[in-house]
């Protein structure tokens, strides 16, 4: 066999030379990634383009506005927060690239508020393997609350099972004889809502329908629910599909009651879909759950409104704005609690300590063996174009739902933690 000896020698030399550069690719463990004397760099993946952009692109802008406000007020322990937002178009394969770039290239301290169940699931193992704190995931899947498997991952949303159970309980409390139906997205979201509803009404869900977000037509599903004479429709839908479901039913001249998960019940966003004129009529009486300070007139609401004016070019102020800024505040609080010289370990320990208050209408439930943020949710109802809490709050624990008193966290120090 004639061997190309010159090439062999060349290749061997190249291999040897390259081996000398080994250090370039091995993890560097001396410094804390993303933390310098005056900055902390964190990153996120968000749908800035693509099908989910219309419903969620405003979240990261709001978070960024809060961080600018915080930085102008001294930051956290003298460090400014740099928030890198990467677009993943709600496509898991793009999330992969975006998050690897954040971790590998930009060397972020933590990933904060990565949005979406399918998208974030695709980087869960990677982040765990890299030991990157994976904080306040923007999705209500139960996946994020597995402290033994994913010790660095923390949820932010109330999980979908909790939301489904609270919505069903409120429906039963309002009218014990109502025919309850469910329309859910065909993933963890819809399945979680259905599971929660079933913990309350058992197998008495008259009709459970699913939709796929890649098919923007729910006529068949709404038709089936109408045929089943549903009175209360509990929706595990994203904003666009909530609007689609309500609009499709209205076209059929069917006006049932709508009970909607927090992920798809943002009134200002729904108005954008349904139109200024029709939305107040179509959405009158729509019940939903929430756990963030969404009450017009509350201290947090007013502060966030002001920050939105000053740092977000006065963008539309929606539930997404409150959500995004609440996430920013919670991260700042966690970073302040992680000490003067934060490390990835001290950040995770600060959250697990259970000392973080957040800014919800109910307490946070983080602990060493619970990485869920909110186990209680308040009921909010739309009345004459205003969505506000009605004072009913439910706590969901292991399949039991009990009514509790809301316990809103008061605003302190103008929303700048660690002073």
């Amino acid at each position: 066999m004639p061997a190309p000896s010159k090439k062999t020698a060349l290749a061997a030399a190249a291999a040897l030379a390259a081996a000398g550069l080994a250090a370039c690719s091995t993890p560097d463990e001396d410094d804390v990634p993303g933390v310098t004397d005056d900055t902390v760099t964190i990153g996120t993946h968000q749908p800035l383009t693509g099908p989910a952009a219309a419903g969620y692109a405003s979240i990261s802008a709001a978070t960024d506005a809060y961080f600018q406000y915080l930085n102008d007020n001294g930051g956290v322990h003298g460090r400014e927060i740099e928030y890198l937002v990467k677009d993943d178009a709600y496509n898991p394969s793009e999330t992969q690239t975006a998050v690897r770039e954040l971790v590998g290239e930009d060397e972020v301290f933590a990933i904060v508020n990565g949005l979406g169940t399918p998208t974030h699931t695709s980087v869960l193992d990677y982040l765990d393997q890299q030991g990157v704190p994976d904080l306040f995931v923007s999705s209500g899947s139960l996946t994020w609350n597995q402290p033994e498997t994913y010790p660095n991952t923390f949820a932010f949303n109330a999980d979908y099972v909790t939301e489904g159970a609270a919505l069903a309980q409120y429906a039963v409390d309002q009218n014990p004889d109502a025919t309850v139906c469910v329309l859910g997205q065909d993933d963890d979201f819809g399945a979680g809502i259905l599971q929660g509803v079933e913990t309350v009404v058992g197998d008495e869900v008259a009709e459970a329908q699913e939709y796929s977000s890649s098919n923007e037509d729910v006529t068949a599903q709404i038709g089936a629910m109408m045929a089943a004479e549903c009175e209360v429709n509990i929706l595990g839908t994203i904003n666009g599909f909530t609007a689609l479901a309500v609009g499709t039913a209205a076209q059929m001249e069917w006006f049932p009651q709508w009970y909607v998960s927090s992920s798809g019940a943002d009134y200002p966003t729904l108005v954008e879909y349904l139109g200024e004129e029709e939305a107040p009529l179509l959405l009158q009486g729509m019940a939903s759950v929430n756990y963030l300070p969404n009450s017009p007139g509350s201290d947090w609401y007013d502060l966030f409104r002001q920050i939105n004016e000053d740092y977000n070019d006065g963008a539309d102020f929606t539930g997404n704005t409150v959500f995004g800024m609440s996430v920013g505040y919670l991260f700042a609080e966690a970073l302040a609690a992680a000490g003067e010289d934060p490390t990835r370990e001290s950040l995770v320990a600060a959250i697990e300590s259970g000392d973080l208050a957040g800014n919800g209408i109910v307490p946070l439930s983080y602990s060493e063996d619970d990485h869920a943020a909110y186990r209680s949710v308040g009921i909010a109802v739309v009345d004459e174009g205003v969505q506000d809490f009605v004072g009913t709050t439910y706590r969901v624990d292991d399949g039991t739902v009990e009514q509790i008193e809301a316990d809103p966290v008061p605003l302190e120090n103008d929303g700048v933690p660690g002073q």
Partner: protein, 352 residues
């Protein structure tokens, strides 16, 4: 093994070693991009041999990659559950699954391909790409829009202090790509390649020379699918997930772009083309993010597509043979030399 083939295998082994050595010079994110490019390389190599040698234009190689990815995810997950504690066996089982699923799908498509010409085959394969999201929603094993997860293959103990996980995955990707592409290269320069060119040149003449065009075309499509399937498996290893969103129409057309820009029929060109389709969008997005926020956001995602269009037009206008260049070392059957200029020959054939 005859002398040319053994030389080819030796050269492939050397190139593989060089590529693996090169991973040491790259940071983790570059290694991830390298792994992605290696996955695309396997698929593009399959595509370029298919189009360049038999003239069958497939716009649906992304679906064949997805088939390999799903095959990998399903088989390796099952193996990981059956044999907890082992990392290498699920990987091998996954590769087996990828080969099986993409091979069967490729064979079925190949049987249809043998009866279809030019635009009809392109149309069929295009329809496959468009049908993928719906298929994923209807077939429970494919797990809808969310897609399936594949087991994580961590760095082996012995290497864990030396290399990061991205580098390890890049090694695996390079090795799998080598296994996928080397047989293609051998086939291209062997008897099978000669038969393909004979069929491409003139089917009637080929039949007179006792070459069965249907068999040759079906075989070529199947072999090409296997390479694409292994490419999909590589992406599943690197990303631990397979979802229809990753294998959309845009990606499928990018594979064709890579084959055309690299030079139809050229393996080296396929490598260059794959690198371009992985790196160019990333470069463009990085550049776009440096622009003012409003303009940058508007261009985001669109600029890369625009640029690819421009690149394809420029390459076909200036160098129809692609990056690989015109001086082909391969002996060409005389009848093609007499009737057509070599560089435009594949296009003319796919369009008739």
């Amino acid at each position: 093994m005859n002398a040319p083939t053994s030389r080819l295998v030796l050269r492939a082994a050397l190139l593989t070693l060089v590529a693996i050595a090169a991973t040491f010079a790259l940071d983790p994110f570059r290694n991830y991009q390298l792994a992605t490019a290696a996955g695309c390389f396997a698929a593009v190599a399959g595509l370029t041999v298919l189009v360049g040698l038999t003239g069958q234009l497939s716009l649906g190689h992304a679906v064949l990659m997805a088939a390999g990815g799903y095959g990998y995810a399903i088989a390796s997950t099952a193996a990981a559950e059956a044999l907890p504690g082992s990392d290498a066996l699920p990987f091998l089982a996954g590769l087996g699954g990828a080969v099986a699923v993409s091979g069967v799908l490729g064979l079925l498509l190949g049987l249809a391909a043998a009866r279809l010409r030019g635009p009809y085959l392109a149309g069929l394969t295009l329809a496959m790409v468009i049908a993928l999201p719906s298929a994923a929603n209807v077939i429970p094993a494919l797990a809808g829009d969310q897609g399936r997860g594949a087991p994580f293959f961590p760095v082996p103990e012995a290497l864990s202090s030396l290399i990061a996980v991205e580098q390890w995955h890049a090694w695996l990707a390079i090795a799998v790509a080598a296994v996928a592409v080397t047989p293609l290269a051998a086939m291209r320069r062997g008897r099978a390649g000669l038969r393909m060119r004979a069929v491409l040149g003139d089917e009637t003449a080929a039949r007179l020379a006792a070459v069965d065009p249907a068999k040759v075309k079906t075989g070529a499509f199947t072999v090409s699918s296997l390479a694409a399937g292994l490419g999909g498996a590589v992406l599943a290893v690197a990303t631990q997930s397979v979802s229809p969103g990753a294998y959309g129409l845009g990606f499928s057309l990018l594979l064709v772009v890579a084959a055309v820009v690299g030079g139809l029929g050229s393996i080296g060109g396929a490598a260059a083309g794959s690198a371009i389709i992985v790196v160019l969008p990333w470069l463009v997005d990085s550049a776009a993010s440096a622009l003012p926020a409003d303009l940058g956001q508007r261009l985001n995602g669109n600029l890369a597509v625009l640029l690819f269009g421009a690149v394809v037009i420029a390459v076909t206008a200036a160098r129809p043979g692609g990056i690989a260049g015109l001086p082909r070392r391969l002996p060409r059957p005389p009848f093609t030399r007499n009737t057509r200029t070599p560089e435009t020959e594949p296009n003319q054939n796919t369009e008739r």
